[in-house]
């Protein structure tokens, strides 16, 4: 090898090295910004939590991603709250009355609640929150959560709020418990309206201490919380996109809590006495939408045959390591309003018979799936294709990055079957069904149009009586199961782990890990 000795190159690289060195020097000296108000937390009684991604916005009314929902859940409180079991319980409102026609809700607020900035919680503050969401100027990402239903919000006195609805909404209380409807300090609202940056100030048990972009979000205990200060000094949330890294952080004690854990790591970490590994039912539903615009998928018997051909129990048991429940309805078993109505068991012979009755499928089916979006999504897509090939159908699989997938699903008509997931954030059947099966829903990728389903959904949401509503949801689920606009798959469990000296963690089936009552046990105690 001949090396050309070149003084120009030498000088050039010298300059590069110098520049790098000076940058390095500057970098060592820089420090992270801090929020001046909050008390500096002590190291020992902080709980560190590793999660998949960094939150996008700590403004509940504008945040749409799961990490933001998780952190906002701890910073803010809502008028009513859901228990981990999905019961509606008082939150910032200690009691409420609903008018007989179901359109007027009057909430009595707790009188001893303060925001992190010292302001008291009043009816006017709550009204300001609703007006912010309803105002056409603010263009908040979560506006349509309430704007189709809420007519107006008014303060009747200092601690009484009246909310008027356009129509009765049976699930309204559960809607109010949505993380996106956290109550924000009026000062933060005013600041964001005056084009200054939004300050995440709520009434929750934790206060934002610092947010180092991409690295961590630190919350510290709110000493003046109406329930009394939490039992830990604070929570540190760290994004770690790689599943193995999350598991190792838990194993080595670098993190106290890891959420979620991949099934493969769950199994390995079970062996460690100092680590608790847990799983719990979630309300997430994994399904594959059939494209009803592409024959022969417009034929209900073909769709039923395709359902009969797939062994969803085996997928849940083997591919998801038993950490999933096969679906017995279009909604997950832990969702309010669930009815076990699905009658499409694994029966390849029946699938073959139905297919041959209809003359079979004489072209390859294009099965699309996102990659690395859902637990084992790739393996699940391959299993579906395998089952269909076993009944004589040719299948082409295509895997996509999530952003591309989401966009192509709505713009392309080249797909026959598309794997998707959905979590109803309010924990009840309307949110589980309407966004996927209503004719006008954006998430209705199948193109399923049923006037009966639309009417029943509208009737159910306007029904106040819980028993009547349950019966309506049973009918809806049964009809959808019969029409089979999708391939019903499974509901994956929430999977998480924590060090055994941590206690008081609860999980909500709406995929929130609740650390409000978490604490560290004394060693030896």
């Amino acid at each position: 090898m001949i090396v050309v000795v070149n003084t120009k190159a030498r000088a050039k690289t010298l300059a590069l090295v110098l520049l790098l060195a000076s940058g390095l020097f500057a970098a060592w000296r820089s420090t992270a910004p801090t929020l001046e108000r909050a008390r500096k937390p002590q190291h020992g009684d902080m709980i560190s939590v590793v999660i998949v991604a960094e939150p996008l916005r700590l403004d509940p009314h504008d945040a749409t991603d799961a990490p933001s929902a998780l952190i906002n859940f701890h910073l803010y409180e809502r008028l009513v709250e859901l228990t981990p079991d999905g019961e509606v319980v008082p939150g910032l409102a200690e009691s409420w009355t609903i008018s007989d026609d179901g359109t007027t809700y009057v909430f009595k607020l707790r009188e001893n609640v303060r925001f992190h900035d010292g302001l008291p919680l009043t009816a006017a503050a709550v009204v300001a929150n609703f007006e912010r969401l309803l105002s056409p100027e603010t263009a908040l990402a979560r506006a349509d959560l309430i704007s189709p239903f809420v007519q107006s919000a008014a303060a009747l006195d200092t601690y009484t709020v009246e909310i008027r609805l356009r129509q009765p909404v049976g699930s309204f209380l559960r809607l109010l418990a949505h993380e996106a409807l956290g109550i924000v300090s009026p000062l933060s609202i005013r600041a964001s309206q005056e084009n200054r940056s939004f300050r995440p100030v709520g009434t929750g048990p934790f206060v934002l201490y610092e947010w180092v972009p991409g690295d961590r979000v630190t919350l510290v205990a709110f000493q003046d919380h109406w329930r009394g200060a939490p039992r830990v000094a604070g929570l540190v949330f760290k994004p770690m996109p790689d599943g193995s890294s999350r598991a190792i952080a838990l194993e080595t004690g670098a993190a106290d809590v890891a959420y979620p854990l991949d099934p493969i790591h769950m199994i390995r970490l079970r062996a460690f006495p100092e680590i608790e590994v847990r799983h719990a039912p979630s309300q997430r539903v994994i399904y594959a939408a059939f494209n009803l615009g592409r024959p022969p998928l417009d034929d209900v018997e073909i769709r039923r045959a395709l359902n009969h051909a797939v062994d969803r129990d085996a997928i849940a048991r083997h591919l998801l390591f038993g950490l999933a429940r096969p679906l017995d309805s279009p909604v997950a078993p832990s969702t309010w309003g669930h009815s076990p109505v699905l009658e499409l068991p694994y029966d390849p012979e029946r699938a073959v018979a139905l297919l041959s009755k209809k003359g079979g499928i004489h072209r390859p089916l294009h099965l699309w799936s996102p990659s690395a979006r859902y637990v084992q999504d790739r393996a699940v897509a391959e299993a579906i294709a395998g089952y269909w090939r076993a009944v004589g159908i040719d299948v082409n699989i295509r895997l996509f990055e999530w952003g591309t997938y989401l966009s192509l699903l709505s713009t392309s008509d080249q797909w026959d079957v598309a794997v998707l997931g959905w979590v109803p954030a309010t924990g009840e059947a309307d949110m589980a069904l309407r966004p996927i099966y209503h004719s006008l829903a954006r998430g209705n990728h199948s193109g399923y149009r049923s006037a009966a389903i639309d009417r029943l959904l509208d009737q159910a949401i306007a029904t106040g009586d819980a028993r009547e509503r349950l019966e309506l949801y049973r009918q809806i689920q049964s009809q959808i199961a019969f029409d089979a606009p999708v391939l019903f798959l499974h509901s994956p469990d929430l999977t998480y782990g924590y060090r055994s000296d941590i206690a008081g963690i609860r999980v909500h089936s709406t995929e929130i890990i609740d650390l409000r009552a978490a604490y560290r046990r004394n060693r030896g105690g």
Partner: protein, 306 residues
Amino acid sequence: MLSLLRNLTEVTTVLAGVVLASFLLVYWLPGAPAELYGGQEASQRDIERLRQRMGLDQPVWVQITNYAYRLLGGDLGESLRSGKPVSQEIAARLPTTLRLAGLAVLVSLAIAIPAGLASAANPQGLASRLVDWASLTVLAVPVYWLGLILILLFAVTLRWLPPSGSESFAHLLLPALALGMHTGAASARVLQASLDDAMKQAYVRTAQGKGLTPSRVLWLHALPNALIPVVTYFGMEVGRLLGGTVLTETVFAVNGIGRFLVTSIAFRDYPAVAGVVLFIALAVTITNAAADVLCRLLDPRTRRER
């Protein structure tokens, strides 16, 4: 003076091209930021509102013109994803990336120089073959796999170092080792070859003829000349280390601009992608331009007008 002006025009053209290309490439990828931000829960109306707020309802040339106009005022715009100024997002992550890159350079030098010297001292010896074998192995192994093995060894089994994060010097050692081993292995081979070559040159024969000891010949005569290609190689690594440490940053949960670039692409965050790419391009061009100027000062032969 004229050449300086020409240099400046060249640099500006390159940067403008880089910005335009990165903006358009992300724009033409299927996938829309408003949809990705709104998520599956957002209604069609929510999406429309978000598009408006992000300025995405405008034709693409209007968006680019607006962006360019702000850029001329030194404003990188706001991230579509976080709503924060892109410059702030980059500044928050840059120190970590610089620390990691700097440590990786130190690690690789610590590997390359002894390895290269050992093998050059006796080109047919055991050390030389060992270096050959080890550097090829390291180069053949993907960097994320190397990273996971390092984590298993030093963080899980030995518990010497934290497995991930970037809060302290100790946190950055493992990722720097993973990155540096790669660069180190590559540059050990470069050094090995160029030392081998230098040892055959006339000036080395002269030094040997003067009766100098073999180690003096190696250290004082061959090494300084043989180092130049290695240093050149490191110079080329600047761009890669600034933006291309993506895999390492993901495995070790290091919060640098490489990972920021990837999340921004996944979100189709055009201003953020264009901002990071512009920043890296700027860093590389400035170092090059500075080196050009320095060259004129140092080397009389390049001072003549072209």
